[in-house]
Symmetry: C2
Subunit: 326 residues, 2 copies
């Protein structure tokens, strides 16, 4: 990552600095509590992956105006809003190694500051007057909320299929990656085939990113991920490693897995057992392969563009999405 | 009201029917749970005051297109979204005589369905392509969330001033009334002075409406209001009747009021005492007068328009806002 990071900064350091400053500036005229709570989630070491995609995508398509910053801030506010609400909905304790906002400021504040960030995201978009992009941003918001509702309604349900899982993670994660790329291409006035290609790159990157995340949840210790391994399971979220292993396992192992998954009080030993079963029945390998498929598709989509430094970086960023695991 | 209702229906019954049907239609392609929870709040006997203002305002300004329905649905979704979240934030039990959504479906669902309705509201607005109105809708959303945050941060604080109270109720209530009227005039392409006049009518109506609501909270029994008297107090909300009475009362009565307000376990006798003190120190009369001032201002704003049946109805609707008390 260090090398990639250096190359990224060589190309778009000024854009990323402008985004940090604007993320802060658009909060400051508001109530102090808003700035504090929003800041807690916005400035907690997130990787700014969505702004990065937007800025790199805009550059790839030859856009040089200021709206890449505006929409980066809009999408990052949208992202922060969903994190605030999702942590509350999931009953999460920790994100990126920090206590979640609703434990510090209370659930009421987390709900309302999330609403404010959502509103601010759409207001910033509306301010640009670019109706096509405003529609994209509104559509992202709608999809994300539906993805979260879908996930919530299927909590703990062992019959969740891979197709449903894909629909959920597309909505809750990939749509925002896809949207960042789409906004970038639309800002540049890129031809339709390039808008579609960049959107496909983003969507596939997002799918791979979420699958890698879901894999890491079973493989990482708390230091790496900033949260405890098995967090998804604790929240009743069935992810691809489990879905695939449940499908492949013989009845006896499936029953053992179901028993662990169904027990909200599972022990570290149970979790170790489960990870062993996920490995034995190829849930981990299967998930990794599917994520790799998406990365291949993402990189193939980039072939719609002429070679450039920016293109190389986007390609390497795709590979990095999976190597995060190590 | 019966007579006014008949006249309103004589004028815009078809519009209101279209709105009911669209409110339902825009939910139906989504997850069943969304429709159920959103329906719980949307079809629970609300008066559709905001759509009514929009439809009547559009008619007053001579607009005859379909977007009055679209924006009515958008603003009603926005309103429903804030009710879902506010009931959760306030820890309310009952709204319009029905158990609140978060008690039936759980807080997580209330948060996410609220988010969905918010997103749907902005998506519907974005779909029209009318950038000026999209900005109004986004601005309303932003103001409403800030009003709620402001209210939350000052919960139970006896030093809340009338100015601050006004700012809070403008944001949490009047902005949406103002916005509905503004949208109506903008749709019709009305001249700037009429846009401003109709917006002022809506804003003042909204202020009066909220003041009347805050007054009723101390005067109604649960049957009338669909909630228990003293609900605001129970939620730590200081409203104008209390603010005004606290200011006017001598030290001894102020202390007695402060003691009741500060006690979350206040008894029916305490509440009766408090209402007596609010009356004695003119908190009730003062609030009613301020609401009446706003109604006068609202009606004066209507003078920018030529006489018509619609204008008469808007004028009578303003008076009705206060007579609701009876």
């Amino acid at each position: 990552m260090t090398d990639l990071k250096t190359r990224i900064l060589g190309l778009v350091a000024a854009d990323l600095t402008a985004i940090e400053s604007e993320l802060n500036r658009h909060l400051s005229p508001h109530l102090p509590l808003v700035g504090e709570v929003a800041g807690h989630i916005l400035f907690s070491g997130g990787k700014r992956l969505r702004p990065l995609l937007l800025v790199l995508g805009a550059r790839l398509c030859g856009y040089r105006g200021d709206y890449a910053t505006t929409f980066s801030v809009s999408l990052e506010y949208l992202h922060a809003a969903t994190l605030l609400h999702d942590d509350l909905v999931d009953g999460s304790q920790v994100r990126r190694g920090k206590t979640v906002a609703h434990h510090i400021y209370g659930p009421a504040t987390a709900v309302l500051v999330g609403d404010f960030l959502l509103a601010r995201a759409l207001s910033l978009a509306a301010g640009t007057g670019n109706i096509e992009i405003i529609r994209v941003v509104a559509g992202i918001t709608e999809n994300m909320s539906q993805g979260e509702i879908h996930q919530l309604t299927r909590k703990g349900d062992l019959s969740l299929t891979e197709d449903e899982y894909r629909q959920v993670i597309w909505r809750k994660t990939a749509v925002l990656f896809e949207g960042a790329c789409q906004v970038a291409a639309l800002l540049a006035g890129a031809p339709a085939n390039q808008v579609a290609a960049l959107a496909s790159y983003g969507a596939n990157l997002g799918m791979a990113f979420q699958m890698a995340d879901d894999l890491m949840d079973y493989l990482s210790d708390s230091r790496e991920l900033g949260k405890t391994a098995g967090a998804d399971l604790r929240e009743g979220k069935l992810t691809l490693p489990v879905i695939a292993a449940l499908k492949a396992a013989p009845a006896k192992d499936r029953q053992r897995m179901a028993a662990i998954i169904g027990n909200p009080e599972f022990t570290p030993d149970d979790l170790r057992d489960l990870v062993g079963l996920l490995a034995r029945h190829d849930g981990l390998r299967y998930t990794r392969e599917k994520a790799e498929d998406h990365i291949r598709t993402a990189k193939a989509a980039l072939e719609a563009f002429a070679p450039s430094d920016t293109l190389d970086i986007l390609r390497d960023l795709a590979d990095y999405t999976l190597s995060r695991r190590a």
